[in-house]
Amino acid sequence: MLRSLRLTTAIVLLMIVPLVLAACSTTGGKKAAQAGNNVAAGHANTKHYTIAMITHASPGDTFWDKIRNGANAAAAKDNITLKYSNNDDPTKQAALITDAINSHVDGIAVTDPNPQALCPTIKQAVAAGIPVVMFNAGFANWQQCGAMSYFGQDETIAGIAAGQRMAKAGAKHVLCVVQTQGQIQLEERCAGVVKGFGTAGTVTKIYVNGTDNSAVLSSITAKLTQDKSIDAVITLGAPYALITLQAETAAHSTAKVYTFDTNAQLVAKIKSGQVQWAVDQQPFLQGYLSVDSLWLYLVNGNVIGGGQTVLTGPSFIDSSNIAKIAVYAAAGNR
């Protein structure tokens, strides 16, 4: 039987070959996507540098893909080798920063979701003569940590803006869906929503297991079924907005869907009106500016921002500007 098992597997594999040759799809797929483009901007002939980018991305969080795309685009333009590493555990992220210092990189771009754990190590990098810029997280005290510039958005401000817009749209009971426990920016967003929503009604928070789509779907469906008074749902990541749409069908809910951050599929939903708007902090820009600003410092001594935060958001992507954005989103950059 073992021989026939091997035989069966071999047959199955052999079947694949002709199928593959015969069964190409005329729609969709990579061929279609390659019509889109990168933000390519030529190639500088300045000295070659190495820059380390260290983030707190959790494995599988698609938001960071856009930051990396931006960083890669800038690195390609500036003749820079980009070394990217990430860990959502602050102590391990600190260890990665130390690795970068010991590798004598020319610049460090870092996120700081946990200043107590990370600031000391960042200060060591500065003391070793490595220029540091911060982005995406660490809004409150990036200057004390020794960074030159900060690129990002104030999550609280973004949350307030979102809450205010939802109140103006007439929502009475908002459900804020949080996909990971213990991440400061996510908590700040929901807290901002509560503030911005103010007296217009109530905001309920729900935690879901962000790495398991089925669990997310079921939890949101259950919540919408349990509480019929929910008329607005705001998610903190684009994939979760998409799942919320599926949950609403199952729960027969008519709540309006809003979200932070976008991706290519979400843009289509904004176009069709299923999602009202997305709060965009332009992650591509954060990655791009982080690398580019270090390059400018290294080749020309420039510092961007004058000691102030360089805001990349919030901006709202809605039906009014969706057409243009859709093209960039399709390329994975918005």
């Binding site: 039987m1 073992l2 098992l5 597997t9 199955v12 594999l13 079947m15 694949i16 199928l19 593959v20 069964a23 190409c24 799809s25 005329t26 729609t27 969709g28 797929g29 990579k30 061929k31 279609a32 996507a33 959790s58 494995p59 599988g60 969080d61 698609t62 960071w64 893909d65 990396r68 795309n69 426990q181 729900i206 935690y207 962000g210 790495t211 398991d212 789509n213 089925s214 669990a215 779907l217 079921s218 939890s219 469906t221 259950a222 919540k223 079924t225 349990q226 509480d227 994939p239 998409l242 799942i243 599926q246 069908t249 199952a250 729960a251 027969h252 290519a264 599929q265 994975g332």
Partner: protein, 352 residues
């Protein structure tokens, strides 16, 4: 065989006075599923009382959906545990299969069904490798599949990132064959106003098939013996190695099926998905009466174990409890179910 006399000088049969008659109730309680059924009833009544939204048919459909996403994998895992082995890579294997189908058909712009077939071949291969390594090296399957778990986890994320520059799989909804595959693997229908997902039906069908194989076929006999006492089984001619490899490949097959359901329901797969689920499958099987040491258990029991997990998972949300307590409640309820299971079985074996 030469017999010169017909049943010669057979001593008069002596009924064994130590074997008493078991009442039908005691027989039922001695079944492996008994504790799980009792636990499930208790939990259902519990949430029925404290969570009004739990009572509706629509909510129960949602409970059954969560149950089916765990139950589809808990079934082959239960069979594997009865056969005396573990598979800790089962959770990420589902994601590997889904990613394989998605990335293959996207990168080569093929019909979605081509990706489906390639993923099937890959999943069966992973199962075969797991089984073959366990048999050839004699190292406990716990360790072999733990290694496979880490490897698949890394491959899932790293390969996806290398190929697509992203940590989730690309959008394949525009490929030809997607909608037909979606109908097969991830459709839903309405019964009396209630939305029912097709995975529930598939789950029930697979549980029935697995139970039939286990109890009514000779392969089932071999599975029990391979787990209960593989040395004895080999001695009487049971092909233990083939049985075990076959069981690992069955886990691979169901990982493929579950992966296809997930892929065609959500279109994109997060490459870090699935981690942690392998323990849910094992817990569901143990709650359903499977011994960790093998040789005893039932597929129906594992199905009920998955149902318990689904009810707890959704019931907590319906009850409006603080979600931070979720992990604690799951652990406590499961511990309770296992203790109840063991208690009932001991009582049943002691009673006459």
């Amino acid at each position: 065989m030469t017999q010169t006399a017909e049943a010669p000088v057979a001593p008069p049969p002596r009924a064994d006075e130590r074997v008493g008659r078991k009442s039908p109730l005691a027989r039922m309680l001695a079944r492996p599923e008994a504790g799980a059924i009792a636990g499930a009833i208790v939990i259902y009544i519990f949430f029925f009382i404290i969570a009004p939204p739990f009572r509706s048919a629509a909510s129960f459909s949602s409970v059954l959906y969560v149950t089916s996403t765990y139950g589809l994998m808990a079934t082959p895992i239960a069979l594997l545990m009865i056969g005396g082995e573990f598979d800790l890579s089962a959770g990420v294997a589902v994601t590997s299969s889904a990613l394989c189908a998605s990335l293959f058909s996207y990168e080569f712009t093929t019909n979605a069904w081509v990706g489906v077939l390639v993923a099937l071949a890959l999943s069966l291969l992973i199962g075969f490798i797991n089984g073959w390594l366990v048999i050839k090296t004699g190292i406990p399957s716990f360790l072999i599949t733990l290694g496979m778990f880490f490897m698949l986890q890394g491959i899932n994320i790293a390969l996806t990132q290398t190929i697509t520059n992203q940590v989730s799989s690309p959008d394949i909804s525009t490929l030809q064959g997607f909608s037909s595959a979606q109908k097969v693997f991830a459709s839903s229908f309405t019964i009396g106003g209630v939305n029912v997902r097709i995975s529930i039906i598939y789950w029930i069908v697979f549980v029935i098939i697995a139970t039939w194989i286990l109890l009514r076929t000779r392969v089932g006999n071999w599975i029990f013996s391979a787990g209960g006492n593989p040395v004895s089984a080999r001695a009487v001619g049971v092909p233990v190695a083939r049985v075990k490899i076959g069981l690992f490949m069955a886990v691979g097959f169901m990982a493929w099926f579950t992966g296809m359901h997930t892929l065609f329901l959500f279109n994109t797969i997060q490459s870090a998905q699935g981690i942690g689920n392998e323990f849910v499958y094992i817990i569901a099987a143990v709650v359903g009466g499977c011994l960790l040491t093998g040789g005893y258990g039932s597929a129906v029991g594992a199905a009920i174990g998955a149902l318990i997990f689904g009810m707890v998972n959704q019931g907590i949300v319906y009850a409006g409890w603080n979600p931070n307590w979720f992990q604690f409640f799951v652990g406590a309820l499961l511990l309770g179910a296992i203790l109840l299971n063991t208690y009932i079985r001991r009582r049943a074996e002691a009673s006459i």
